[in-house]
Symmetry: C2
DNA sequence: CTTGACCCTGTAGTATAGTACAGGGATTAT
DNA sequence: ATAATCCCTGTACTATACTACAGGGTCAAG
């Protein structure tokens, strides 16, 4: 099996070496086997896992939540019932996030299109195009 | 015009009093007028703004980014060009976030449905239902 | 007229998520 | 064989976003 050292995984995942070790301490990735010199030897799958962590963070999940999401896949001690309950909750959260993002996107699109219809700078229709109500609630 | 004091706005927005003052210091909400005793007098619109801030935070926007989003609406000194450039960037970010969330949701849905088809606990199909590849990349 | 629940400023402390050394060993390129 | 470049552990520092006082003023109700 092809393995790689920490510098390579970190670079491939777009994060720092220290961050990889930090995630290991926090239990987001498991401690990989070591070679004779004590160097960590990672399987390729670790890169995918680290990329997932990075993206999930950008989506507003905390490391704790990301750990939970990842454990839904990998925890062999959970029962189906546990996992379904957990998963249902996560799905609800994620659907709410998607809906909120769509609202913000639609409001921004309105603004963008209003600006596109070649106006003079003086009456740029920002304030009208996107009222407090539309964007903020 | 109906106004309210800081305790009321904070409670209505679902955040703490100290947090409201903190957002004022950071320029996310403007310094409201004060009454004779120096107490902040907020218009109702501040509640919507605070709620927006709270939700945007849950979506992974930093306070700096939220400030920029809010300024797209309210900054009267920006030109249409500035705003369009800014808005376009935000739209790209938001669309990427939506896509990522949908990917995670679909993977979780697969897991959820696989578990729903009454299996014995022994062969709960987590690992198969949601492979690393599907969820993680 | 005082007591409890508010408000004020200012400063300090906390949680989360890194990020940066220090001090040392291993490996590779010249 | 000796730099340069990686790796190790452990600890300390940083940024962000709160959160909690300290020490004091305001105000409505009993």
């Amino acid at each position: 099996m092809k393995t790689m050292m920490i510098g390579k995984v970190a670079e491939s995942a777009g994060i720092g070496v220290e961050t990889v070790r930090f995630y290991e301490r926090r239990g987001l990735i498991e401690s990989p086997p070591r070679n004779a010199s004590g160097y960590r030897q990672y399987p390729v799958s670790t890169i995918h896992r680290l990329r997932f962590i990075r993206r999930a963070k950008e989506l507003g999940f905390s490391l704790r939540e990301i750990k939970e999401l990842l454990e839904l896949q990998t925890d062999p001690t959970s029962t189906c019932g546990d996992i379904m309950k957990h998963t249902e909750q996560k799905l609800t959260d994620i659907n709410r996030k998607i809906d909120d993002l769509i609202k913000i996107r639609d409001a921004l699109n309105l603004l963008f299109e209003a600006c596109s219809r070649d106006r003079t700078l003086a009456d740029c229709p920002i304030i009208n195009a996107m009222s407090d109500k539309e964007l903020q609630d």
